[in-house]
């Protein structure tokens, strides 16, 4: 019950922060950091996979509605939600397999690797679908690389802020 409550609040909060604040950021003209994948990143590790996918879809569609972008955010969020166990296993190794993983007890390096995997795959899917043309390949790469860097930094900072509050 508590997990549902926390995640609903996060859901609303992350969407509001994304559309009301971050979408106004235009660093160097075309870089737009995305924070909302944080919801998928922080979901409990033992969550029912179908619930997880439905949540990812709804989250993505909400962002799409605000940005008038078809279904690109929904598709990108679904992909990272689906691939999340793979990334978790790669980043945290055995402790994920034995279900003993505590996110904040894991070393910083593992957390960074996990977040980077999630954000980069999200941005690759997102921007490929958005640009959707081979003519803009270089532009696509630039957008993926720069936006990923900003999003990863932003999400890592937010993660640390949330932890400080809990202690």
């Amino acid at each position: 019950m508590k997990t549902y409550f926390i995640n609903s609040i996060r859901f609303v909060l992350l969407i509001l922060v994304q559309v009301m604040i971050l979408n106004h950021f235009e660093v160097f003209g075309y870089i737009n950091p995305y924070i909302y994948p944080l919801l998928i990143i922080l979901l409990p590790f033992n969550i029912n996979s179908i619930q997880k996918l439905l949540l990812a879809f709804v989250l993505g569609i909400c962002i799409d509605i605000f940005e008038d972008s078809g279904g690109i955010h929904a598709a990108a969020t679904l992909v990272i939600a689906y691939l999340r166990p793979l990334f978790l296993r790669n980043a945290f190794g055995l402790s994920y397999d034995y279900q003993t993983l505590k996110f904040y007890d894991a070393p910083f390096r593992s957390r960074l690797v996990y977040v980077s995997f999630m954000v980069i795959i999200h941005h690759v899917v997102l921007f490929s679908l958005e640009i959707f043309s081979v003519n803009h390949l270089l532009y696509l790469l630039e957008k993926i690389v720069y936006s990923s860097i900003f999003s990863i930094i932003l999400i890592m900072i937010t993660l640390n802020l949330i932890r400080k509050n809990r202690k």
Binding site: I50, D68, G71, A75
Partner: protein, 274 residues
């Protein structure tokens, strides 16, 4: 049968993933192909109000520049007004006729504006309650913005000229040679005018305005100036790069223009439809 059901239960995660991804991709392709897809649209009550609230805060940051833009527009209008009253006696009958009937103008405010994507849309405050309808042109004092494609009671969605799906009829101001205005998805200040015939006298710095060949924009609304051009020798057409007068990244007060002769013209064009 049992085998199939067992298989489905075993792979339910994968199946849900595939179904949802197909929906998402379907919406994406629809948004890329039909430029007025309405399934996922920000012109609804919730997103309109959320974006409106955040815009009511952000508007304070641009008050100064917006005031400057409005003053500039007032200056131009006042100049035109003072200069027309001099010749009032001779022009009165024709002027009256034109100002009364041709165009209806609504003011509106931009509450969400994207310009860093390939296909951009704007959300404006003002919908069917303010008699804003679909297919009306949106302009500012400096140039054109886009076309209304979806309306709700209080909000409307506008397809920006910075969208690879739009093509707008435009012409050289000096000589009336027509072309099509498109965007390549890169620089929000530069658009390209294609299919201008070889016979047109194209010079750097010439003004481009809307052509009168559509019922969406009036004729001679300024768009931008020529900052580069290239002649395709094989096809005999110019490709002109146009620098917009409008700063598409900084929009606030806009006008929605309705051509009152539009319905009549459509009736003539499609007599079969009711």
């Amino acid at each position: 049968m049992q085998q199939i059901i067992l298989f489905l239960i075993k792979n339910k995660t994968g199946l849900v993933f595939i179904i949802l991804t197909t929906i998402a991709l379907g919406l994406t392709f629809q948004a890329h192909t039909y430029h007025n897809s309405k399934l996922v649209s920000s012109a609804n009550f919730i997103s309109g109000n959320v974006l409106g609230t955040s815009e009511s805060v952000y508007q304070y940051f641009s008050l100064k520049t917006q005031n400057e833009i409005l003053l500039e527009e007032n200056k131009t209008l006042r100049k035109r007004l003072l200069n027309t009253t001099l010749a009032e006696d001779t022009l009165q009958p024709t002027l009256d006729y034109i100002t009364d009937t041709l165009y209806r103008i609504q003011k509106a405010k931009v509450i969400s504006n994207y310009y860093d994507k390939i296909d951009n849309y704007l959300l404006i405050e003002g919908g069917t309650n303010d008699s804003i309808k679909e297919d009306l042109g949106v302009i500012t004092s400096k140039g054109i913005i886009g076309i209304v494609i979806d309306t709700s009671k209080e909000f409307s969605r506008v397809i920006s000229i910075l969208n690879t799906n739009t093509s707008i009829n435009a012409k050289l101001k000096k000589t009336n040679h027509f072309g099509t205005l498109t965007w390549d998805g890169k620089d929000p200040n530069i658009m390209s005018l294609v299919d201008v015939p070889r016979s047109a006298p194209v010079n750097l710095g010439d003004t481009i305005t809307t052509g009168g060949r559509s019922l969406i924009f009036p004729e001679d609304v300024p768009i931008g100036i020529i900052n580069d051009f290239e002649l395709n020798e094989n096809l005999g057409y110019y490709t002109i790069s146009v620098k917009l007068f409008n700063d598409m990244t900084n929009l606030k007060h806009i006008y929605v223009i309705e051509d009152t002769r539009k319905e009549e013209a459509y009736e003539l064009l499609n007599p079969s439809q009711p």
